[in-house]
């Protein structure tokens, strides 16, 4: 059976994904793949009755029969130039395959190893960390990814790396809907520090499904700036999962952005294993048309004196739907936890919808946890002020929307990326309110 047509059932869609191309591997990885596939079969697509999925409507995804990527699409630097970050260490993947000729590793000197994962399977470090964090036994998408991924990135930080490391995952333009698997593994050793940008983009035209899994390990006293940009093409589907294990006194600063795709979901799960770990989570989803963007975060404070500061924003226009679910769990031993979470949301149209769900679970007395959520519209006073200065309604609304987003974007410590994201936002907004 090879279903290429649209309008499949949920079951057919899943079956089709299971028919993906089997990637040859040996030894430890083969064992993991086999196990993952077995779990994928059992898990199947998540039910909407599942608490974590009840707001996420995947029905559009189920309609498609996604084909495995069977041929390597040759792209040139010109095809992807708009997404390149000048001066960055760069790995590029096209439809999940490593594209050495588009990558740029000449700046990856002392203090960091940046390579294709497939090239590094013999590395003890890879073997001992890969698959240990991503929940391939609990999550069907992670299981599918673990079985079907062809290649991915391996980032091993052993010193202070000043240049940003960009992991650029490009979907090429294809005739048929394809299933693309992206995989990343980042390990930051003690007292080491780096900035990693996971970037998901698509060339215009066609439907595809990106399934992305990332594992991040921060050893004691390690620091990571982790920026995740989802700016897929408009008819794409994107489901991502990232697990972070944070060691003692580590600092993890994450920004996750969702702009693209017809339907997208990103789950970020952070476990503070070591005491005194600190994290700053910023997030922004900007959706219009009939887009759906879901961001799920979970922070497990499992050790004493952990700190987490989170700000998530959703902006929804036209008939779009944005979802944020942020869970903070303070475990029994996590005395002295300090946690602040805020969810701020901007509804730009009557038909748009935003669901926000902050959840606190505290199993400890000695903690300080604050959270709050607001949903608002464009401020009428600000709008009139801008119009009274000569700006059109549209210009004024865009400016205010951009300003709302800028609070997240501007904090990204990579100026070239900030600039490019600002442009992306303005372009997306050009399509808003139409």
């Amino acid at each position: 059976m090879n279903l290429t047509q649209k309008n499949l059932t949920r079951e057919q869609c899943f079956e089709q994904l299971l028919l993906g191309k089997t990637v040859k591997s040996t030894g430890w990885l083969e064992n993991i793949r086999v196990e993952a596939l077995a779990h994928a079969r059992i898990l199947n697509f998540p039910s909407v009755r599942h608490d974590d999925w009840r707001f996420t409507d995947l029905s559009q995804l189920y309609l498609h029969g996604f084909q495995p990527v069977d041929s390597f699409a040759r792209l040139t630097l010109d095809d992807i130039r708009q997404w390149l970050i000048p001066g960055a260490i760069r790995l590029v993947f096209v439809d999940g395959c490593y594209a050495a000729e588009l990558s740029d590793l000449k700046h990856a000197g002392a203090g960091v190893v940046v390579t294709s994962l497939a090239e590094r399977l013999g590395d003890r470090q890879v073997e001992s960390s890969f698959g240990r964090y991503a929940p391939y036994k609990q999550d069907a998408f992670v299981a599918l990814n673990t079985n079907f991924f062809e290649d991915g990135s391996w980032v091993h930080v052993t010193g202070e790396v000043a240049r940003p490391i960009q992991l650029l995952h490009v979907a090429s333009k294809r005739e048929v809907s394809s299933a693309i698997y992206s995989r990343n593994m980042v390990v930051v050793e003690p007292f080491s520090r780096a900035t990693v940008i996971e970037d998901y983009v698509g060339l215009e035209g066609g439907t595809y499904f990106t399934n992305a899994v990332t594992e991040v390990v921060l050893k004691n006293d390690a620091q990571l700036q982790h920026i995740r940009v989802q700016r897929e093409d408009k008819d794409a589907f994107h489901i991502g999962h990232c697990t972070v294990e944070a060691g003692k006194n580590s600092v993890y600063a994450a920004t996750s952005l969702a702009f693209g795709a017809r339907v997208s979901r990103h789950a970020l799960h952070i476990v503070q294993q070591g005491e005194g770990a600190e994290m700053h989570l910023n997030g922004l989803a900007l959706v219009a048309g009939r887009q759906i963007a879901d961001t799920h975060t979970q922070v497990d404070h499992a050790a004493p004196r952990g700190k987490s500061i989170q700000l998530h924003k959703c902006i929804a226009d036209s008939s779009a739907h944005a979802i944020f679910s942020g869970k903070i769990i303070v475990h029994t031993g996590a005395a002295g936890t300090d946690s602040v979470q805020s969810s701020r949301n901007l509804l730009l149209s009557d038909k748009a919808r935003i669901d926000t769900q902050p959840q606190l679970e505290i199993f400890n007395d000695d903690v300080s946890c604050k959270h709050g959520a607001t949903i608002g519209q464009i401020d009428a006073g600000a709008l009139f002020f801008l119009k009274s200065r000569g700006l059109t309604e549209e210009r004024a609304r865009n400016l205010l929307t951009h300003a709302f987003a800028a609070e997240i974007i501007d904090k990204i410590p990579v100026p070239a990326l900030v600039e490019s994201l600002s442009k992306t936002i303005l372009e997306r907004m050009g399509g808003l309110s139409t």
Binding site: D379, A380, G381, A382, F384, F385, L386, K387, S388, R389, G390, L391, T392, E393, R395, A396, L399, L400, H402, A403, F404, A405, A406, E407, D410
Partner: protein
């Protein structure tokens, strides 16, 4: 400066307006010619800000009667941004804060919008910077305010100065200053007044809403109007302000 031969900028006749079903303006008449300085005074709640906002096109207010024209054009057929482009400027009594939009970005956007409207070249950020460095001198503002979000965290007086900076950049034909002097310290009042004076010419005009005679020592009005209960109940020269200062408003109300 009064010159009966100069062009009429604003002509308001029997203007009535309401908010939330309550009539606030009950028949305002006002004519402003190029080159003139007008002051509008009156007790709290008499409708001065409402009048200002109605002229600027605030959506909360519904015009229920009368006419207003600007350089012969029906004001109420224009959107707020069209009025701004035609040359009307309102300095707000309570300037809004706009987090995330830098002062310089807003000024450039607004300036370029007007340039385009007037068929002139837009300025790029570098060219605009030259212009803005000139203009901030008018209000003696520290350049660091340009990089900050519009009015965010500004003190009351700084916000008012910022309004005048916008006026200086946009060079309106008719500036309506709603209590720009309130909340200014003595030095700031002098600076702002000097700034406004330097912007005045025989081609433009200003309408100042104020509670204090002090401002009028610096910006000398050709006309002083008293608003009460949504109407202009008395018009005089600058000596009317002195009289109000000395006697308050009661005698006027009794006479009305």
């Amino acid at each position: 400066m009064i010159n009966k031969a100069s062009k009429v900028l604003l002509e308001v006749k029997n203007l009535k307006a309401e908010v939330g079903g309550v009539e606030i303006l009950k028949g305002v008449d006002l004519t402003v010619r190029a080159g003139e300085v007008h002051a509008i005074m009156g007790i709290n709640g008499s409708g001065k800000s409402t009048f200002s906002k109605v002229l600027a096109g605030h959506p909360d207010y519904t015009v229920t009667g009368g006419q207003a024209s600007f350089e012969g054009q029906d004001l109420f057929s224009l959107e707020p941004e069209q009025r701004a482009r035609a040359g009307i400027f309102l300095a707000f009594q309570y300037p809004v804060e706009i987090p995330g939009v830098s002062n310089s970005a807003l000024l450039r956007l607004a300036y370029n919008t007007l340039q385009t409207e007037r068929g002139l070249e837009e300025l790029d950020p570098l060219e605009f910077d030259d212009l803005i460095q000139e203009k901030i001198k008018v209000v003696e503002m520290d350049p660091s305010f340009l990089g900050r979000s519009v009015n965010e965290g500004f003190s009351g007086g700084e916000k008012k100065r910022n309004e005048i900076l916008q006026m200086a950049v946009l060079a309106p034909k008719l500036a309506i200053l709603d209590e720009t002097d309130s909340g200014l310290d003595i030095d700031a009042l002098r600076i702002v007044a000097k700034g406004v004076n330097s912007l005045l010419s025989s081609d433009n005009a200003v309408v100042m809403v104020t509670h204090y005679q002090r401002l009028l020592n610096y910006i000398v009005p050709d006309y002083v109007h008293v608003m009460d209960g949504g109407r202009i109940v008395r018009t005089g020269g600058k000596e009317l302000a002195l009289e109000l200062e000395a006697r308050g408003y009661d005698w006027l109300r009794a006479a009305a």
